[in-house]
């Protein structure tokens, strides 16, 4: 047995379990924390796949920034446990069924239609060096320069948007 395979299976189980935890937790905070754990697992996946920069970015941006933001808002709005829903009792089973169908279709596609036989090799030590990050940087600033710059504008817009949206009108509480 390969070390990486075992690692992979463990990580996969953890990822799935945390995802299920996200689905079923009554409390929003627990759900957020489950998601953080999920992100961490995925980060390790990235490392396994030889993408150190992305793994770091995942942890930093997703788990660090985005989830923290989520947690802020959860706190802000009161993570009350919402009562059991009364409307559309048929919706939950139907959703589950459809999702299962979706999965089935994906599986069908993967295993019947696409004949993928590629096996990914373990990441070499050489991959987790600064050489990898350099390569990404070089590509980012040469080939994908325009999207890069546009993304900066996008972020600016998002910031402004967030501020404008939540700006308090005069006389409003909260």
């Amino acid at each position: 047995m390969d070390f990486t395979l075992i690692l992979f299976i463990v990580l996969a189980v953890v990822a799935v379990l945390t995802a299920i935890g996200l689905l079923v937790s009554r409390s929003a905070v627990y759900a957020a924390l489950f998601l953080v754990l999920n992100f961490a697992t995925v980060a390790v996946f990235y490392l396994l796949l030889g993408a150190p920069f992305i793994a770091m970015a995942q942890v930093t941006v997703y788990a660090g920034a985005i989830m923290v933001l989520f947690l802020f808002v959860i706190m802000l709005l009161g993570a009350e446990k919402l009562p059991k829903g009364q409307v559309m009792p048929w919706q939950r089973p139907l959703a589950i069924a459809l999702t299962v169908v979706l999965l089935a279709e994906a599986g069908f596609l993967l295993f019947q239609r696409l004949s993928i036989t590629t096996a990914l090799s373990n990441p070499e030590a050489a991959l987790n060096t600064e050489g990898a990050v350099q390569a990404i940087g070089a590509m980012l600033f040469s080939q994908y320069l325009l999207p890069f710059e546009v993304t900066s504008v996008l972020l600016l817009v998002a910031m402004i948007g967030a501020i404008v949206l939540t700006k308090k009108e005069k006389g409003e509480s909260v």
Binding site: M88, Q91, L94, A95, L98, L102, E105, F108, L109
Partner: protein
């Protein structure tokens, strides 16, 4: 003569003018008549007729220059269908020229007479505007009669035949809404209708003859028919008999013989010039002309000839007896005309075509004279009546002995019910109207057949021929001649002698020259007319002989040219025995009439002396042997019953009420109401379309539930779509 040196053929081409001069006259009168004075209208019409006479004279001259050879002048193409070719040709031969001269000559004189007569008549009836119409119709009649006599085929003859029938209708019913005294009445319209309908029956006979002729001969042209007559008669004798007898029906209609004479007495409802022109001189002679023209056919079938002669003779006697019992001056003359036509028809029936035509011409002269003089008498009475009621301020009354009417006044009615034509109102007019009296006397003597006036010569020719071959006809005609003299004498005594029996007659005035001068011309012709065919000379016989060939001449000559030596009493064709017998009978008749009516003139209100003497026979004569009543009961009422049955029962009750209303309409209504409305429309079509609406509503109601506003369900829908598309793509 200078004229005879002129190229004769040139004159023949004038022949269409005999038709078109009167047509132009009537067109001018129709279009411009409203702007013209009465005198202008009248003289224009007379000039049109006079010009036609001038052309006829020229044609006669030209014809004599051409030795009487018949000329056919083509005028226009009429019918041309396949092998059938019926052109409008004019035929100028001695027979047609004779008729043309009579029609236009007498016609012109009557036109002139009518100017004066109608001038007074429209004022008496209080409708001066109708003057123009009269002359339009008169010219139309001349045109139509000319077409009749100048046609070269039986069809052209028929066109004229029908045309004169139409004009007769128009002119009899001239005063269609007034009676003799101007009061509202439709009696004249009824008389006109009767004339037309009865004539139509005769026309039907003519049409049958024409169709049979076309079937047998293949053509209706005179030349073709007469040329083939002998061989067709040899091959199919029955056909020729049929043709001639069918033609006889037409003749009895147009020339007022038994059984279709009943229209002529009623036709006296028309103004007197109409009676003179149409119902004495010209139209009624069309039948005689037809038989004379068809001489080649008739001479081939002696059986038919005998029937024609008998019809003529019986009619002559029958009508003469009726004339004895009539009181209206014009009715006497009407029955006299029927009787004289019987003479003519008997003559041409016997094969004495020349005699028949001769009598036709003579009769035209003196019968026109008699009618017009009768018109003058009637006008005189109307004048007297007018004179009385307007000048003396009280209505005239009958001068009855007994004076129960003296002092009786009508209520402000300007017109009292008095008949100016009734001989019982007349009397003593000899003193009031002398000119008319002498003219009438000349006409009477001519009609009675007194030597040397016109009627003597023509009537005796007929009697002579009858005596030779047809003894029964001779007897009938002789008795008729006796009656003729008797009733004419009766008329003279009643009208002109004795004392006036009515105020109007007492104050009657003589007529103006415009009325009396044409009469004088006719009187002259009546006196001298016999010169046309004197014994030894036989001008007319020779003239007509060119057309009628040897047959007419031979029959007219009688025994003079036969193998046996002529008896001593036949001088140049004139049979002295027959002439003497008929003259004697005429004188006896006149004497008898003097005994009854002249010696002791009738007083006012007195019954006719013959009534007591003859009793029911006289009633029969008076009531025209109930012919009209019999016809009504036997034919007319039966026809009305049939028509009523067809209309009320078959058309009304069966066809309309039952079939249309119940069967057709009922079925249709049932169909539309029950079948279509209830079943198909309501349950079928309505249900379908209502159902569509319901379906849409329900579908939309159920689909509306998708829009429940919940985000989750929208997301679910998106996932559903994704799954489906993915599935589809995977399946491909």
């Amino acid at each position: 003569m200078l004229l005879s040196e002129v190229s004769n053929t040139g004159f023949f081409h004038l022949v269409p003018l005999i038709v078109f001069f009167p047509v132009i006259g009537l067109l001018i009168n129709i279009i411009f008549g409203g702007l013209m004075k009465e005198k202008v209208i009248g003289w224009l019409a007379s000039a049109a007729s006079g010009l036609a006479f001038v052309v006829s004279v020229l044609l006669a001259v030209a014809l004599s220059g051409a030795h009487g050879e018949a000329q056919v002048i083509p005028f226009a193409e009429w019918i041309r269908i396949g092998t059938l070719n019926i052109p409008w040709n004019f035929r100028v031969d001695t027979l047609s020229v004779t008729m043309m001269l009579v029609v236009s000559g007498v016609g012109t004189l009557i036109h002139i007479y009518a100017i004066g007569y109608m001038h007074e008549d429209v004022r008496f009836k209080d409708d001066p505007g109708r003057f123009r119409r009269f002359f339009v119709f008169l010219n139309l009649f001349i045109a139509m009669m000319m077409i009749l006599v100048s046609g070269d085929s039986y069809l052209m003859l028929f066109v004229g035949w029908e045309g004169v029938g139409l004009c007769s209708f128009l002119l009899i019913g001239f005063w269609y809404d007034k009676d003799t005294l101007g009061r509202p009445s439709f009696a004249n319209a009824e008389a006109a209708k009767k004339a037309f309908v009865v004539n139509r029956i005769g026309d039907f006979g003519f049409i049958l003859a024409a169709l049979t002729m076309f079937w047998a001969f293949g053509s209706l042209q005179f030349g073709d028919v007469f040329g083939k007559a002998a061989e067709v008669a040899h091959a199919m004798p029955g056909v020729v008999i049929a043709i001639t007898l069918f033609m006889l029906i037409g003749v009895t209609g147009k020339s007022a013989q038994i059984p279709l004479f009943v229209w002529l007495p009623d036709a006296m409802a028309g103004p007197t010039p109409v009676s003179a022109l149409i119902h004495a001189a010209t139209m009624v002679t069309a039948g005689v002309y037809l038989v004379a023209r068809s001489a080649p056919l008739y001479t081939l079938v002696p059986q038919a000839q005998y029937i024609v002669a008998l019809v003529g003779a019986v009619t002559a006697l029958f009508a003469a007896t009726i004339a004895v019992g009539q009181y209206d001056i014009k009715k006497v003359l009407a029955y006299s005309t029927i009787s004289q036509l019987g003479f003519m028809v008997a003559a041409v029936g016997m094969g004495a075509f020349v005699a028949g035509m001769f009598h036709l011409v003579m009769h035209a002269f003196f019968k026109a004279l008699l009618f017009l003089s009768a018109g003058s008498v009637i006008l005189g009475l109307e004048r007297g009546h007018h004179h009385l009621s307007h000048h003396e301020g009280h209505p005239s009354t009958t001068l009855r002995a007994g004076s129960e009417h003296e002092g009786k006044h009508e209520d402000a009615e300007p017109v009292e019910a008095f008949d100016p034509g009734d001989m019982r109102n007349m009397g003593g007019l000899r003193k009031q109207m002398p000119v008319t009296f002498w003219l009438y006397l000349i006409g009477t003597l001519a009609l009675a057949g007194i030597f040397p006036l016109a009627g003597f010569w023509s009537k005796d020719e007929i009697l002579a021929d009858a005596q030779l071959h047809y003894p029964l006809v001779f007897i009938l005609l002789t008795i008729a001649a006796f009656f003729t003299a008797f009733y004419m004498g009766r008329q003279i005594w009643m009208v002109f002698f004795g004392k006036a029996r009515h105020d109007a007659a007492a104050h009657a005035e003589e007529s103006k020259p415009i009325i009396t001068v044409p009469l004088m011309v006719l009187a002259g012709l009546s006196i001298l007319g016999g010169a046309l065919n004197l014994p030894y000379l036989h001008t007319f016989t020779n003239w007509l002989g060119h057309t009628l060939g040897g047959e007419g001449a031979a029959a007219a000559e009688g025994a003079a040219h036969t193998v046996e030596a002529a008896p001593w009493y036949v001088l140049g064709g004139l049979n002295l025995a027959v002439a003497g017998l008929s003259t004697l009978l005429a004188l006896v008749a006149i004497y008898l009439s003097w005994l009854i009516y002249g010696r002791k003139p009738l007083a006012a209100g007195q019954k006719d002396p013959l009534k007591k003497a003859l009793g029911f026979i006289f009633t029969g004569m008076e009531r025209k042997w109930f012919v009209d009543e019999i016809y009504w009961a036997a034919f007319v009422n039966r026809y009305v019953d049939l028509a009523r049955f067809l209309a009320d029962v078959i058309d009304g009750r069966f066809w309309h009420d039952w079939f249309h209303d119940k069967v057709l309409a009922g079925t249709y209504n049932w169909l539309s109401r029950i079948a279509l409305d209830k079943v198909i429309d309501t349950r079928g079509i309505d249900a379908f379309f209502n159902g569509l609406g319901e379906l849409t509503k329900r579908a939309s109601a159920s689909l509306r539930r998708l829009q429940n506003g919940f985000v989750r369900s929208y997301a679910l829908a998106v996932l559903f779509g994704v799954v489906v598309i993915l599935g589809y793509l995977l399946m491909k």
